[in-house]
C-alpha cells in the first residue's frame, strides 16, 4: 500500500516535470551560468582551475539545489494539490520520501550535465578516470540535499517571503555537504587520487544522510500538522 502511494507520488512529480520541463531545464541553465560566473569571478582567465574544481562544482550544485528545492512544492501549493494530499490517507513519511526522491532525481539530472562540464571547463589534467568516484560522492550528497531540502522547503512553504526564507534556512545546513562534496571531488580530481580522504568525506556524507533522515522522519508529521 505504502509502496504504491510512494510510486504514485513520485510519478506525479516526474510527470508534471516531463510535461512542463520547467524545473530541470531551469536548474541546468542556472548551473551553467553559475559555472561561468564563478570562472569570471576569479578575475583571471586561467585555463587550469583543477585546484578549485571541487569548490566550483559544489558551490554551483548547492545554489542549484536551492533553486530546485524551492520549486519542488510550487505545483502542490499553487494548484492546491497539497490540500488534497493532506486530507488523503497518505502517511507524511511517504510524502517525505516521495518528495526526496523527486529532488534526488532533479539533482542527478543536473549533475549528469555539470560533472562532465566542470572537467571540460576547468581541468586540464586527468579527470575522466575519476568521474566514477565523483559520481559516487554526488549520489551520497544528493541524498543529503534531498532529505534536508524536503524538510526545509516544507518549513518555508507557508511562511511570508518564502523564496527568501528557504536559502537562509537551507544553505547553512548545506555547508557540511558542500565541504564534503568539494573535499571528495578535490581528493580524486586532476591528479593522484587520495582515496583515504575521499572515503572520509563519503562516510561523512553517509552520516549526514542518516542523521537528516532520522530528523526528517521524526519531525515531518509536525510540518503539515494544520
Amino acid at each position: 500500500m505504502r509502496r504504491r502511494q510512494l510510486i504514485a507520488l513520485v510519478r506525479k512529480d516526474l510527470r508534471l516535470e516531463l510535461r512542463t520541463r520547467e524545473t530541470i531545464v531551469a536548474m541546468v541553465l542556472f548551473a551553467i551560468v553559475m559555472l561561468a560566473i564563478l570562472q569570471f569571478g576569479f578575475g583571471t582567465r586561467d585555463d587550469d582551475l583543477t585546484r578549485f574544481v571541487g569548490g566550483l562544482m559544489w558551490v554551483t550544485l548547492a545554489f542549484t539545489a536551492v533553486l530546485g528545492v524551492g520549486r519542488s512544492y510550487v505545483a502542490e501549493r499553487e494548484q492546491r494539490v497539497l490540500d488534497g494530499l493532506l486530507v488523503a490517507p497518505v502517511p507524511r513519511t511517504v510524502m517525505l520520501a516521495a518528495k526526496s526522491i523527486a529532488i534526488f532525481l532533479y539533482m542527478t539530472a543536473v549533475e549528469i550535465v555539470v560533472i562532465p562540464l566542470v572537467g571540460i571547463f576547468f581541468v586540464k589534467g586527468p579527470y575522466w578516470d575519476s568521474i566514477g568516484w565523483i559520481a559516487i560522492a554526488a549520489v551520497l550528497a544528493n541524498i543529503c540535499i534531498a532529505l534536508s531540502g524536503t524538510l526545509f522547503s516544507g518549513l518555508a512553504l507557508f511562511t511570508r517571503a518564502r523564496d527568501l526564507i528557504l536559502p537562509v534556512l537551507f544553505l547553512p545546513a548545506l555547508v557540511p555537504v558542500v565541504i564534503a562534496g568539494a573535499g571528495a571531488t578535490h581528493a580524486v580530481a586532476g591528479g593522484p587520487h587520495d582515496m583515504g580522504e575521499w572515503r572520509g568525506y563519503c562516510l561523512f556524507l553517509l552520516a549526514y544522510a542518516i542523521l537528516f533522515a532520522l530528523v526528517s522522519v521524526a519531525t515531518y508529521d509536525a510540518v503539515f500538522d494544520d
Partner: protein, 220 residues
C-alpha cells in the same frame, strides 16, 4: 533569582581568578587567558542549543507554549554566546597567528557555521505566524542541533589543525591550577546561561500577565 546571584558571584570569582590567580602561559602570555572565557562560552552555547532542541521535542509532544518560550530564549542566549565565541576566537587568532581569521582552524569555522544556522532560526520565526511559528521553530531547533555535530565533523575530515587542542582523549593538556580556573569559568558561564534564561522567561510571563490585565481593564 538564585541563579542570578550565583551567576554574578561565579562570574566575578572566575574573572578575578583568571586574571589575577591563574598562572600565565609561558608560550602565549596574557592572551592565553582569553581561553577561559572562549572555551567556556563555546560549551555553554552548545548547552543552550541542546536545551532548545529538548524544548523543541517537548513542544512537539505537548504543544505547550512554555516550551516554545524556553526554546526561543535558549537559542537567543546560545546565539549571543556563539557570536562571542567567534569574536574571542578571532582576537585569539590575531594574537597567536597574526591574523583576524584563519580558515584552516576548524573550530572557528565551525562556530561561524553554527552562528549562521541559528541566526536563520529568527528569520524563520519572524516569517511564520501563531501556531506555525511555534511548530516550525521547534522543528528547526531540532534540525539545527542535528546540524551542529555535522558542522563540527565536516570541517575536521581534512585534519589540518592549527587550533591548540587542549582537551584530548588523554585528558586536559594543562596544569591543574589552570584546569581549576577553567572549571570555575565553565560553571560560571553555564550559571550565566541559566540566569539569563530565567530572566528572559520571567520577562515573557510578566508581559503576558500585563497584556491580560490591560485587556481586562479595557473590557471593564
Amino acid at each position: 533569582m538564585i541563579w542570578g546571584v550565583l551567576a554574578t558571584i561565579l562570574v566575578v570569582v572566575s574573572t578575578i581568578g583568571v586574571f589575577l590567580v591563574a598562572p600565565e602561559d609561558a608560550d602565549q602570555g596574557i592572551i592565553q587567558r582569553i581561553f577561559y572565557f572562549h572555551v567556556a562560552i563555546a560549551i555553554a552555547s552548545l548547552v543552550a542549543f541542546a536545551v532548545a532542541c529538548v524544548a523543541g521535542i517537548l513542544f512537539l509532544r505537548t504543544r505547550k507554549e512554555r516550551w516554545d518560550d524556553v526554546g526561543e530564549a535558549s537559542i537567543r542566549i546560545g546565539l549571543l554566546f556563539a557570536v562571542l565565541v567567534v569574536i574571542t576566537g578571532s582576537i585569539w587568532a590575531k594574537a597567536s597567528w597574526g591574523t583576524w581569521w584563519v580558515w584552516s582552524d576548524p573550530r572557528l569555522v565551525t562556530y561561524l557555521i553554527v552562528v549562521l544556522i541559528y541566526a536563520a532560526y529568527f528569520v524563520l520565526r519572524s516569517s511564520a505566524e501563531d501556531d506555525r511559528k511555534m511548530r516550525y521553530s521547534a522543528i528547526y531547533a531540532i534540525a539545527g542541533f542535528a546540524s551542529v555535530p555535522l558542522s563540527f565533523y565536516s570541517v575536521r575530515v581534512a585534519e589540518s589543525f592549527v587550533h591548540p587542542v587542549v582537551f584530548t582523549s588523554g585528558g586536559a593538556a594543562m596544569p591543574s591550577s589552570m584546569l581549576w580556573w577553567f572549571v570555575v569559568s565553565q560553571v560560571a558561564m553555564i550559571a550565566l546561561f541559566i540566569a539569563l534564561l530565567e530572566v528572559d522567561l520571567l520577562g515573557r510571563r510578566s508581559e503576558r500577565a500585563l497584556r491580560r490585565l490591560a485587556m481586562r481593564l479595557e473590557s471593564a
